[in-house]
């Protein structure tokens, strides 16, 4: 009787909340989950893999799943990753979690996996194949949010310098289109220059140093993450006043921000995706294997750092790493419920 009342109450709520009420069922104890990752060559991806190891390692030792192995391709090529997924199908994994090299090029392999009865969950670098689940980042919004913040901070507007990521990559196009859309809506801002920093501090520093002499006074720098510190160095080397630079949650960026804040009250904000999103994808895969209803399209919340919580975030960020959040099973259930 009691349980049926509970069930009735829960039925009124979103399905995901219902599933959070019955977490840690042992139904998935014999299930094997694999991570197919396309790239590991930067600090964000390293943190992503570390989080995966930490959270899934515990899940395996707790008996929630039988295995959660991580595999990374060497060359960041879609063809190589497609072959890797085919191997995983043959190895008999029950679910494959993917950070994909391309949104479309893996669809064939993903479809094969689905046809073999394997649950496929893609995150960050998502795949468009309908049978897969997607934990997408609203990169466009991430770009737009920067302009929203700037419009509040600088009602008079000014010139912007845009630092983009790696040319030809989906994420770069999305963030940039969000930034340009935001600039259109807030006409007091003008994008005076745009360079590609490849999400690397040294490349950004170089690109900004090159274009700076041709630019008028810059009020703010809009970025994509991993480029804010390099931009700050370039402004300093050119002897120009430091503009408001949006940061991307890297430890060196946050440290620099803190130094400036202490020295002269410098204000900015920092936004990026927590590398721990891999653990969200893991729990989503586990929930699907557990027979839960999970919508095929989910969105990851941004990890945003502002003036007042800078110190707290800096403290929890590993020196030289990226600000991170790891998901627990109930955190994941809450995201699904949204």
């Amino acid at each position: 009787m009691k349980t049926s009342i509970l069930k009735m109450t829960l039925a009124g709520l979103a399905l995901g909340v219902a599933s959070s009420a019955s977490v840690a069922l042992a139904d998935t104890a014999d299930k094997k989950i694999a991570l197919s990752n396309n790239y590991a060559g930067n600090s964000w991806r390293q943190a992503m893999l570390t989080s995966w190891d930490k959270v899934t390692g515990k899940a395996v030792s707790d008996g929630v799943v039988a295995a959660a192995d991580a595999f990374t391709t060497a060359e960041n090529q879609a063809t190589e990753q497609a072959a890797q997924i085919q191997n995983m199908i043959l190895q008999g994994y029950d679910a494959i979690v993917i950070n994909a090299a391309s949104p479309t090029a893996l669809n064939g392999s993903v479809k094969e996996a689905c046809d073999a009865g394997i649950v496929v969950v893609s995150f960050d670098g998502i795949v468009t194949e309908p049978c897969a689940w997607r934990i997408a980042v609203d990169f466009k919004q991430m770009g737009k949010d920067q302009l929203t913040y700037l419009a509040e901070k600088m009602p008079d507007g000014g010139n912007l310098l845009e630092i983009r990521g790696l040319a030809g990559v989906f994420v770069d196009d999305e963030i940039s289109s969000g930034i340009h859309e935001g600039a259109k809506e807030n006409a007091q801002f003008k994008i005076a220059g745009s360079v590609h920093g490849n999400w690397a501090q040294d490349v950004s520093q170089k690109a900004v140093a090159g274009i700076l002499p041709s630019l008028p006074e810059i009020a703010a720098v809009v970025t994509q993450g991993g480029d804010g510190y390099g931009a700050a160095q370039a402004f300093k080397a050119a002897g120009r006043p430091t503009p408001l630079i949006i940061m991307g949650n890297r430890h060196d960026e946050l440290t620099w921000w803190k130094e400036q804040k202490d020295a002269n009250g410098y204000e900015t904000m920092s936004v990026s995706i927590a590398p721990g999103v891999s653990t969200l994808a893991f729990w989503v895969a586990q929930m699907i294997l557990d027979g839960k209803e999970v919508p095929h399209d989910l969105t990851v919340p941004f990890l945003r750092i502002d003036q007042d919580n800078l110190e707290a975030n800096l403290e929890t960020t590993q020196a030289g790493g990226v600000a991170n959040v790891e998901y627990s099973q109930s955190d994941a259930a809450a995201v699904v419920a949204k």
Partner: protein, 314 residues
């Protein structure tokens, strides 16, 4: 005067400098006189790093067809990572860090050549596969965490005298030394001879394999040194810090007027080409050109340079 001009026109490095000046003037149209000085100063800052790796790459390419070092980015990353972690931001350890970086370079060079010589793997495949191992070592060593360089090293790499970075002056001196090494020493002449005809060089009594060994080690040591200074310059070593130096190191050698087929090389062109590559990107950025156009231009320019250079020689 006219003989001087004729002689000048024959210099293979000429086109790189002509291109550099053209790009600089084009950029100056937008930046004005004061800005153009700053552009040049920035160009020297960043071209320096290209030149260091390109000198090593040039010696390897000079050895003749099939010789190329694709492990440069990984070697830079490993050396930068090891040195930064070892120094842990302490000024007293700067020399130790430099020695550690150079040590990494030696290890990488020896390993590369061991694959090439002992296992008879072609250099392209040997250095590429070695780079996976080296990159993985760098990842395993510090998991991509960015350790700040010692303050004095960061200061040194960014200091300028009269607008010219100190590091650039040092690398210009290095380039002069390496020019003399290439053209005036037994080692340099041997590298050129092997590149022109390795059988003839062998019959002439040159110890071909020893020279090749020294050259691969030289390239790796230069890459490691570059990784060390680049990490100092940009606030720490990152796992992807060497990425753009793979194609750039080859492009700088080729645009600088060295023969891709080996045997004919020159050092001055490296500076011309490195400045040219930086200024071209700067010019296109200044004019607001897209990344796609930039890549197309880079490709076209390499084709034009090879055609121009190839039309004249031999």
């Amino acid at each position: 005067m006219s003989t001087f001009l004729v002689k000048l026109r024959e210099q293979p490095w000429l086109w790189a400098f002509v291109g550099t000046i053209a790009m600089w003037l084009a950029t100056s149209l937008v930046t004005g006189a004061q800005g153009s000085g700053q552009v040049l100063s920035a160009a020297f800052s960043f071209a320096t790093f290209f030149v260091i790796v390109a000198i090593g790459q040039m010696f390897v390419i000079t050895l003749g067809p099939g010789n190329v070092d694709l492990s440069i980015p990984a070697c830079m990353t490993l050396a930068g990572t090891v040195a930064m972690k070892l120094m842990a931001g302490s000024d007293g350890m700067i020399l130790v860090g430099l020695l550690a970086a150079i040590g990494c370079g030696f290890a990488v060079g020896i390993f590369n050549f061991a694959l090439i010589r002992l296992l008879s793997i072609p250099p392209i495949i040997a250095t590429l596969s070695a780079s996976f191992l080296i990159q993985s070592s760098a990842i395993a060593y510090n998991r991509g965490l960015r350790v700040k360089p010692p303050a004095a090293l960061a200061e040194f790499t960014t200091t300028r005298i009269g607008g010219i970075p100190v590091l650039a002056i040092a690398v210009m001196l290095l380039a002069i030394v390496m020019h003399i090494v290439l053209t005036r020493t037994v080692y340099g002449r041997s590298v050129l001879a092997i590149g022109q005809n390795s059988k003839a060089a062998f019959l002439a009594g040159i110890r071909v394999e020893r020279i090749r060994f020294a050259t691969y080690v030289l390239s790796a040591v230069f890459a490691a040194t570059c990784g060390y200074f680049l990490a100092g310059f940009s606030g720490g070593a990152a796992l992807n810090m060497g990425e753009e130096y793979l194609l750039a190191s080859i492009a700088v050698v080729v645009i600088g007027g060295s023969s891709v087929a080996g045997g004919y090389s020159n050092v001055p062109g490296l500076w011309g080409a490195a400045l040219f590559l930086f200024l071209m990107v700067t010019m296109l950025n200044t004019f607001g050109a897209s990344a796609g156009l930039r890549l197309i231009m880079t490709g076209l320019i390499i084709i034009v340079v090879i055609t121009l250079a190839g039309g004249r020689k031999r």
